[in-house]
Symmetry: D3
Subunit: 339 residues, 6 copies
């Protein structure tokens, strides 16, 4: 049974090491995107993951495609055509200097795709799960409609739908996000959010939290999850809790609201190698753990441990196995050499 | 007195060495463009070169700008705004495998610029030369009009105008190119072309040449230059003569039609390091040599020697001094170590 | 219909650039092997290629496996187990310094595999072609027997069998090679050889050729192909003709003996980027062209053009498409930039 | 109005990453120097910064010059001639292993320059600020005299003079430094020092501090600043407060003594990317903030935040904008990704 | 007087930076091994260190040999022959992701060496110390016997014998290790161990420690050292105390049991650059300090400081001098830049 | 018996690949010098080579020293002290762009060494050969005197003396070179020169050769060798014959005048990887072949083949074995892969 992820895959261009773009001619290009990252996580955990997008027929898009194929992600239903592959530039931050991400994704094939491009009935054959993020509908009204088509078809077929809220202020306004995402929420079974996104998109926030200061109370998280559940009748809500000490060091944990209970994972003190894709690796871990019928506490532990490990991995893709996640989750975070 | 070049500067993204895009994650990014390359050539030869374009306000455009500033190119009249910096991907070819260039330049700031963006009277203050290529008007009707504005203003101010024909079939049709370029030719004092472009854009070709076979007769070149002069009353026509033995080895020379005479340069047997930007370096050398009042034979020798050296330089920019060009032109092509 | 290739995939370890192993700590690791290279060629040409081997369950073998998956090579029937992944070290030569290859492949999983490891009836389901090289039976008597099993099963199922003679003196003696390969020849429909291997393995050589001098007569090649056909009743014999001017420059062409006629390809003057895998890319092109029912002249032209391009590609895998091969084969070897 | 910085620019040669010189052949070369770093900081903040030095006419000096030009530093008054460009080698330390710096700057053009080389009246046209460090007079008696010339001319013209004490024991003795610097102090309006330098050069130290232990009291700093003010009548004294936990982690803050008051900045807990140039970036920030008429608390906050960011940047140059410094200074040190 | 180290030197292959093997083609190869690392430490401290092994005659082994020669390690008694050089692959971990080490050392020349290969009487001429680790006898019964030969000959000649217990579960079972190592202990004068190895090999452990949690009591260490001394009459026992906070951060100290007293070193809070070889650098420091007749406290301080520095060095070899170790040991761990 | 080489070893700094210094921050540093290169050649051929120089006590000099030790060059008599290690910058040329070499060697320890630094009686114990080049006396009058001391001592002890003329116009005038070298010639048994140096230093040239055009007649070479022999009574004169087609392609051969006969080697058509050190590798090969008592034809063939191979090797050091040279010399220059 397939896990279908729908969204954009982009070329990720970053200077080698901690250089800024203006300082160097040496770059790495890898390929990534919110939903592609989830597909790769699921494939790395052994699931039959499929990725759906539209991409142009050129050599840079071929490289993006190959990176998915290499991870055994099913790309049989990728649509070809359109103008360009979206790109984004990353400067890796350190200490008090934040990482910066500059998108160059306008006019990408997926952002200019049409509803006719995708045959969701075919895509969802032999499928058990559909995942998308708030980035995909933000690419344009056409893509938002395609998302809605997908959600509706998924619902009809009894496929579980998960969504990572992932608000991007450079792609759309909070108002537009709120309207569009509210409509999509109707179809969502599992929502992943963080407090900041929840406030910006739906105006839901705990009374007194202060995200930037890194001071986040557990009660605030509970409030947000409950409020999301109340408003949209979403049975499962997961929230990632990042306390950003600096660009180099973060505290990281997760919360799951499920079966009307709250489950908090253990908290990891992370020394960051590459932080981009951290949220997506949480989503990937969460979907895996739910689909494996883990108990509720283990679901949030697995998702958090998976995304903890992602922070030690270069690139967006979470290059770890389920066994490695379980090993961390079950206690060995000491980082001793494995011989 | 300024030499003003107008066009697009892009990020040039290429795999390190001879790798194909799909094979590697290690890339180099430099910044280049037909007219920017000419501006850098002129600056490297000691001229006061200025580059005019429109570029977005983001960190990748800042890096492009810095690459110009580093070469002492005057960027005071660059206009900021718009969506994105154009990009292009290069795979360096070798032996029988050709280099490939994939453009990702649509929707760039310059391609979507408006006539109001540029104040040519101000740009052309204290200016003696204006250079553009056939790529710039190919970016869009708006940009073609801006080119026409620039040409007219230059003419009014008695500024010399040079144009490198540079036909790009991916940007516009031969028919569109012919119509637009014909109008612009009226203002051009120095035209640089090769036989292939001349045929495609203006339908001017020698009766029996065969470009791909590398068999090009001197008579054919004379015919083309004369025909261009006949049709457009352009006093100076220069033609580059590339005999491509393979992606690694080329024969390279130039011809100048000036004062109703034909001047052929010596021919260089080039082992190629990086061929992209070779034509632009010829234009840069030509403009420099004309502006220095070299005699006609020396003009074409300088332009050819300059571009010969470019083929040994990584990146589009021709990182050589006038002294180095003169040294080659005056006979020392033996490649002996300079200690 | 699958094209099944059976053999060893190894880690290929080479210094970056032209450094010798003793000079540097900077290495590239890619993954390759005679038959794996053919499988990748076929997959790159759009065929359903499968690779069969035995490899250990560790992270370096996983990387080898991923490199096949990335090229869409079917690895469903790869067997896991055994001790180690074979490795080989390459020093890229230049000018008068030859490339050196040091094998570290003893005790690899495939070399110690057992006949029971492979279920050829299952492997050959829905298969039209079986390919192996003389390297595989050279890995050990057990592997030679497995080869024989595979050949017999292929024959029973009416599957075409191709073999690249590929004699490796470090793996076995000429005598052992002759005995073993002679037995296997009975099942072979398409044999690829060069004059040197043919002489060493089967004692078949033209009267007066001198391989090292690079002076090879067409008549000698005809003699060898005919002799191979005479002795083993192999309907199709292809011979690669390498005239090694230096480690940097080779003349390269091919000959096909088929339907009792000799077909010589055009000869390419190659400036070498990476020569390892050149013969395999010829085999890959040959199998593709035969399976596409090209006419005999085109078969040898395609195989030769494909392998010509390989010499311009870093690594063993021939990263070119059928369209690129056809473009070269149909005349454009000028190496002009493709924009 | 120009900000003129006078001193040496050198080639900075360091192994890639954390390698020691003896371990590797892979190096990076950038260009830097105490005053050049300040000039680049000021230029990056948008000021019209000029750099004055003497450098030889060769290709390595040209590269140093280009690095300044690329940052829009005015180099119109650089003097050419002399023997060599100074160099220094850096091994980046980590954890308990300190960074090491080996100077190879003797006989550099600037160190052997003559008073006649510099026309300070011309240099100081349209100038509002002059900056130098204690390194420059340490290069030789001739250079100390040139410094004095510059200071006197600046004073005559009403130009503000700043000096970073920067004692280098390898360049001169504490006694020589004390004598020479004392004479120069007469002209200094803004002095930057740290406790260690103040003690070594002027014998001024707080009773009981222990620099190496990292235990530094605020009272000690106040004492030193006041004592410097007392002795030399310098109206503004700034002191950097580095608590070195290890080569990887430092606490970093600053103190400003101005208008007879003490202002302490917030303290940053820095995970170090590259520490060399940290003090210079403080000076650059300080000069900028004073020239922008920030209030006294903001002056020290800006200088400290600027230099905090520098520690996250590879190379000596502080590649950050004023906007980025303000963002950190105004509270967002959480290092969250900027999208 | 020579310090002889006997064991295996391998090629160490690791991805550049923090990449996993499957993510990259860019690798570093250096050469290392438990006893080779000790030999290099001793040579770097100025001792006459010799390394004894058997290695094949090929270019990769030549590179390993050169790396020893470069460090002035005496390799005059290295034996040549056999099949292959052992290799191992390292993925450098970070934060909660542990480093992984995959050995590919089976069938190496040393592991298949015979007792006749080594003439210990000749090796031990003019020798004062013999060092081996528990890895060497684990390579095979033959090598264990060779170790025993060496130990006996050393004892006869009055040479001090040191052993680092270094249990490797992938090489042999705890039971085999216990039997073999017990026999060898008879000859050992200085034993280096950690609590984990001591428990696995000899079943000696403190009642209630928990290694993975990083909670290790001093009393437990004392217990273990005393128990080892009791059982084997080893006069000197040193134990390394690693508290692994994560793969990036460790607390590190050492304990020495000598002259019936316990000596604990200071504890270092290490931010890790490369952790592999950390234990060997402790052994190297210990042997050096004992042979220099340091007092007991200084012995353990030197060994711990040496190995603390190793964690900041890329590769297994501890590229520091005795002077650098003494500097750290005598108090300056602040990591301030050395100019 | 030692082969003693006396001269300077420098840090060689070059951009990676074909970049110019101004284009990149990525450099390689290796260590080289005319006589050090010969010492390494001899050591690589299995001889007991010693290198004598004076170098400073710092980490960059340590790296130079280690590079010699790694090649088994005896450095026991290297003198430590003085200011700095000489450096030189190389830009690798290609095609018509020549390589450039910029020296930064003034004030190096060896150039400022004193006669008292070297105890030639001790150095020449157990020595059979002394080699120096014209670069060493060019470093200063002091060094010229040291050279004379060495030559005299060598003569007294019956040690063979070889000298490579190697004129460097940037180090001294032709007149100074002539005077100094003439005095030293008295002690020289084997002189290596090329026509250009011979003309510049001694005014000896064939009537009508034209070096830069690459047209060199055999008769001219004979004339020069004979004239050198006539003037200085040098029994053996060897001349290298480089026909520089371009910076990428050279024809290369050698001539030996010995026993009153002329011996010309075969000529190699070289595609150049790195040309610097080519002459030194000829000298190394010559000395080796003479000392091995090769016949006269084989002497010049070995020297030429050795230096032919050097052109395919990165860096100054000729990283080839005598076996590899013999293989090329005895006919296999086809560059076929060695498996």
């Amino acid at each position: 049974m397939k896990f279908v992820c729908f969204g954009e895959i982009m070329g990720r261009i970053n200077p080698v090491g901690f250089k800024r773009i203006v300082q160097t001619n040496n770059f790495e290009i890898t390929y990534a995107g919110g939903e592609a990252n989830v597909a790769v996580s699921l494939a790395n955990f052994g699931k039959n993951a499929a990725f759906i997008t539209k991409m142009p027929e050129n050599i840079i898009a071929q490289a993006a495609l190959r990176s998915l194929i290499a991870h055994k992600v099913n790309v049989d239903d990728v649509v070809f055509g359109g103008e360009r592959l979206g790109l984004y530039f990353v400067e890796k931050g350190a200490s008090q200097r934040p990482s910066t991400v500059i998108y160059d994704r306008k006019h990408s094939s997926i952002s200019e795709s049409a509803r006719e491009d995708f045959d969701w009935n075919k895509v969802f054959e032999d499928c058990c799960w559909f995942h998308f993020t708030g980035i995909t509908p933000a690419l344009g009204k056409n893509v938002a409609e395609i998302c809605l088509d997908a959600c509706k078809t998924a619902k009809e077929k009894g496929i579980k739908v998960s969504c990572d809220l992932n608000y991007r202020s450079k792609l759309w306004s909070a108002k537009d996000a709120g309207e569009t995402m509210s409509k999509l929420m109707e179809y969502v079974d599992v929502l992943i959010a963080n407090e900041e996104d929840s406030e910006k998109v739906f105006g839901i926030s705990a009374p007194d939290s202060n995200i930037k200061s890194g001071e986040l109370s557990k009660e605030g998280y509970k409030y947000v999850a409950k409020a999301l559940n109340d408003r949209f009748r979403i049975p499962v809500v997961a929230i990632t809790l990042r306390k950003s000490l600096s660009a180099s060091d973060n505290l990281w944990s997760g919360m799951l609201y499920k079966d009307n209970e709250f489950y908090f994972s253990k908290e990891y003190n992370i020394h960051i190698v590459d932080r981009v894709g951290g949220g997506d690796s949480f989503a990937g871990g969460l979907i895996y753990a739910i689909s494996e019928n883990y108990n509720n506490q283990d679901i949030v532990e697995f998702a958090t441990a998976a995304s903890c490990l992602k922070h030690s991995i270069e690139g967006d893709f979470n290059e770890v196995s389920a066994a490695e996640v379980l090993k961390l989750m079950n206690g060995d975070g000491s980082g001793r050499v494995q011989r």
